[in-house]
Symmetry: C2
Subunit: 320 residues, 2 copies
């Protein structure tokens, strides 16, 4: 076992959110901080019970638990948590077929991302950290369009129709899982008036997006008061009521937060996990629509906040 580790089973991060919410991108970013060789990622969408063709015939949505092997998904997450390998089914997103399964061994860290990862109590009990991604709806539509056209072989019209058709499924099957998350992360466009007019080529890119974290008291979140006391520019922490009326902390990180302040929060978080200081690098990078590597403070600080919890979990701080 590595020195900076006390837990003798995989640490599991869950990422749930609707189609196009940015789950895979966030998962890859966190994996690249922890070191890809230490992280095993699986996608719960692989547990689709029907091919795209079969779904078209039957009308069962891919977002409906009935259209997925939910009991097997639960069983496999339990097995991975117990450190055992699985033979994971494979849903081929490119052509919509069910392919031969693949052998997956649990890593030191596991990221389990997908549409339905918090559907059952037994599943939810397997995660160390549960994240729910809820970008502003227009952002999600744009992200989904970009990916489904470039990587999954759909036409723009097909994606538009699918977004519309699946809106109700998302509300029915995906959104109820939000309530089980320890953190709800929402990327959003800043309110126009607070920002002025962005340069044309910066529009819709994450460098201007704000990150809003809803922090539930189900995890011991780091003490951010040294950062947020005094100035409220760029980073704010506020007590609020969540949409379900429950008390939460809301952490708002603005897209235009200045470098110095972002650096201060970054340093504070790294200092709280000295065991992981060798991982400092590559924070907040993403590919924009023209495949350029860019950097975003809200993305960087969001990745780091989640990494903070994973490292704490690995140190055994969250073990029962």
């Amino acid at each position: 076992m590595p020195k900076n580790r006390k837990l003798n089973r995989p640490v599991i991060l869950g990422i749930v959110g609707d189609s196009g919410a940015g789950k895979t991108t966030l998962a890859q970013g966190i994996a690249s901080i922890l070191g890809p060789s230490r992280v095993t990622m699986i996608c719960t969408d692989d547990y689709h019970r029907y091919s795209r063709e079969e779904r078209a015939l039957s009308g069962v949505s891919a977002l409906d638990p009935k259209g997925n092997y939910m009991d097997i998904m639960e069983q496999h997450i339990q097995l991975l948590r117990a450190g055992r390998p699985i033979l994971k089914p494979v849903y081929n997103h490119t052509n919509g077929t069910l392919d031969a399964p693949e052998y997956v061994e649990p890593g030191e860290y596991m990221i389990v991302e997908g549409l339905l990862g918090y559907s059952t109590r037994a599943m939810r009990d397997c995660y160390d950290v549960k994240l729910y991604l809820e970008p502003q709806e227009e952002l999600r539509a744009a992200w989904k369009m970009q990916r489904d056209v470039s990587k999954r072989g759909y036409t723009a019209d097909e994606v538009r129709r699918q977004i519309e058709k699946r809106l109700r499924d998302g509300i029915t099957f995906i959104r109820p899982q939000r309530t089980f998350a320890d953190l709800v992360l929402s990327f959003r466009h800043p309110v126009a008036s607070s920002l002025g007019e962005p340069e044309e080529d910066d529009k819709d890119t994450a460098s201007y997006l704000n990150a809003r974290h809803t922090l539930r008291p189900t995890l011991p979140h780091p003490d951010l008061t040294p950062i947020v006391e005094g100035s409220k520019n760029g980073i704010r922490l506020e007590l609020a009521r969540d949409i379900d009326g429950k008390p939460v902390d809301v952490l708002e990180i603005e897209g235009d937060v200045d470098d110095k302040r972002a650096k201060a929060m970054e340093d504070l978080l790294w200092n709280l996990i000295p065991e992981a200081n060798h991982l400092r690098s590559n924070l907040g990078q993403y590919m924009d629509a023209s495949q350029e590597t860019r950097m975003s403070h809200p993305l960087a600080l969001s990745q780091l906040l989640i990494t903070y919890h994973l490292v704490k979990a690995a140190m055994g701080h969250y073990a029962i």
Copy 2:
């Protein structure tokens, strides 16, 4: 739970033997006695790690544990024994590809048949009854030829080459599992002199085959002395040393046993499992090479002897 049942988990019969040993045929025969709806069958050959094409390139044999997901096979048998469903991989015997997995729920009875089912201690601990099939080598070659040409799309020449090539693999990987079986069943041609010349069209059909059971003391076998004392015609039970020198009972049922004597053994076995008397039917039927349904006493009595153990196991007689 049905009235004639005390065990609250599936009863599992293992059938292991080399390629063409008659595993599937025997499994289907036993399932048809117990009632197909109460029996779930799985084949451990579905856990092949490589497609036929990949095996041809790498030279890894399908009979080699290295060419199979042995840990997943073990895990799945354990899950089924615990009454949990699995998502079983699928090896397509027709074209040699790895296909989409299939959902399998445990039945009241399970038959797990294949090449490598007794490879690990943890697997072996899952079975209630372990059978090893070891037909006379020339019979196995004939059966394999018939099946691989008619059902798996091979030419006769390809099958012959495969039988030769795999002989060593069988000795290395399959045969060592024989020692873990509770029963070793060997169909064989009667010694010619004891039988006279069979009619031409009966040659090589199971109606003239003898069945030899090697009965290990790892299961409480039924008391057959009422049948075998006195006359030794057609059915014999003898104390013997197995090929490994260990003491065993050898039960020999000859192909030409007369109907009356076969009926006496049948009645004796059914009377020992009154709970299962509603199942009496269809014993010993098989399809000959010309697809005619035929009847064999040795096959009937072998099926019944195995069924006897499964019913006893279901009644909880073999529970720890």
